[in-house]
Symmetry: C2
Subunit: 150 residues, 2 copies
DNA sequence: ATTTACTTGAAAATAGTTTTAAGTTATACT
DNA sequence: AGTATAACTTAAAACTATTTTCAAGTAAAT
C-alpha cells in the first residue's frame, strides 16, 4: 500500500511522515484515474475541510516525485499534472486536439528501440510518449460535420 | 524556404508579414540545432540590436506553432522550448538526468503502434517521445566513480 | 529535558507568460 | 493618392503557477 511504502521511504531517508503528506498522497490514490495538478490537489483538500497550505502541497508533490510515487506530466497547458507512478505501468497519453481529453494508451512496441539505445550505452530510466491527434469520438463528429456541409 | 512559406501562409489567412515576425523565425532558422525558449529568442534578438518586444516574441512564437512552423517542447524545466518543425522529421529526445544534455533520437519502430491506433479510430497528428535516463558519457563517468569507491 | 533537525503556514518573491491600452503600420477601398 | 479599416507592435501592468523565506511548531535523538 502506498501510504505504508511512503512511511518506510521517509523513515529510511530521515524524513517524517506527517498528516499533510498522507493527505496529499491520498488525494492521488482517491483520484488515480485523473491527472491532477497541484492546484487541483489543494482545492480537493480545501473542499474536504482538510486545510493544507499551498506551499506544503507543492513541496509534498515535489517530494513524492523525487521518491518515485508520482510521475510529472505536461500536456502543454502551462501547468504540471501528476499521476501515481505505478510500477510496470506505462504512461503514454493520447491528447485529443479537439476535445482535450487525455486517453491512456498502451505501448508494447518499444522493446526494439530500448535495446538499440542500450546497445549505444544509454540507460533507459523513464519515458514519456505523447501523441496528439483526434480521438475516435471527435473524428466521428468531424466526419459528420463535413458530410453535412456537402 | 521558411520565410517565403510563412509569407504565403500569412497572406492566405489575412495576416501580415512584419519585420518582427521575420526576425523571430530567423532566430529559429539560425539556431536550428538548439531548443530555444521564448526568453532565449528575446535575448538573441536583443543582443543583435534587433529590438522586438517580449510580447511580440511570445505572440509570434504562438503563431508559428499554430501554423506548424514550430513544435512546442517541454523538458520539465518549467519553460517551453521550441524547434523548427521540419516535415518528416521526428522529434524524439533523450534527456540525460545527470548532465541535462538533450540528444535527438531516431525512431523507426512506431509504425505498428501508429497502425493500431488508426485502426481504433485515432488520428495521429503529432507525437512527442521523451526518454529520460543516463547518456553514454555520464554512464561512463558513473561507472568510474563506482569503481574508484571499491 | 534539551538540543537538533524536520516541517508547516502565510506571505512575499520569482519566473514565465498573457493582457491592456495606446500608438503605428499595412492593406483595402474610394 | 487619400482615407478608412483592421492588423500589428510596444511597454507596462497583470496574471498564474510555482518557489522561497522565515518565524513558529513538532517530533526524534541525545
Amino acid at each position: 500500500m502506498y501510504i505504508e511504502a511512503l512511511k518506510k521511504e521517509l523513515k529510511d531517508k530521515k524524513y517524517r511522515m506527517t498528516p499533510q503528506r498522507e493527505l496529499v498522497l491520498k488525494v492521488f490514490i482517491d483520484n488515480e484515474n485523473d491527472h491532477l495538478g497541484a492546484e487541483d490537489v489543494y482545492r480537493i483538500l480545501f473542499s474536504n475541510k482538510h486545510s493544507v497550505s499551498k506551499a506544503t502541497v507543492y513541496r509534498t508533490i515535489e517530494l513524492l516525485v523525487d521518491f518515485g510515487f508520482l510521475r510529472k506530466l505536461d500536456f502543454g497547458e502551462g501547468i504540471y499534472r501528476y499521476e501515481l507512478a505505478k510500477k510496470n505501468k506505462m504512461h503514454h497519453h493520447f491528447i485529443c486536439k479537439i476535445c482535450g481529453k487525455i486517453y491512456e494508451i498502451e505501448e508494447k512496441h518499444l522493446d526494439i528501440l530500448k535495446k538499440e539505445l542500450e546497445n549505444q550505452g544509454f540507460v533507459f530510466e523513464d519515458f514519456d510518449f505523447k501523441i496528439y491527434g483526434i480521438c475516435p469520438k471527435c473524428n466521428k463528429k468531424t466526419k459528420k460535420r463535413i458530410e453535412n456541409k456537402k
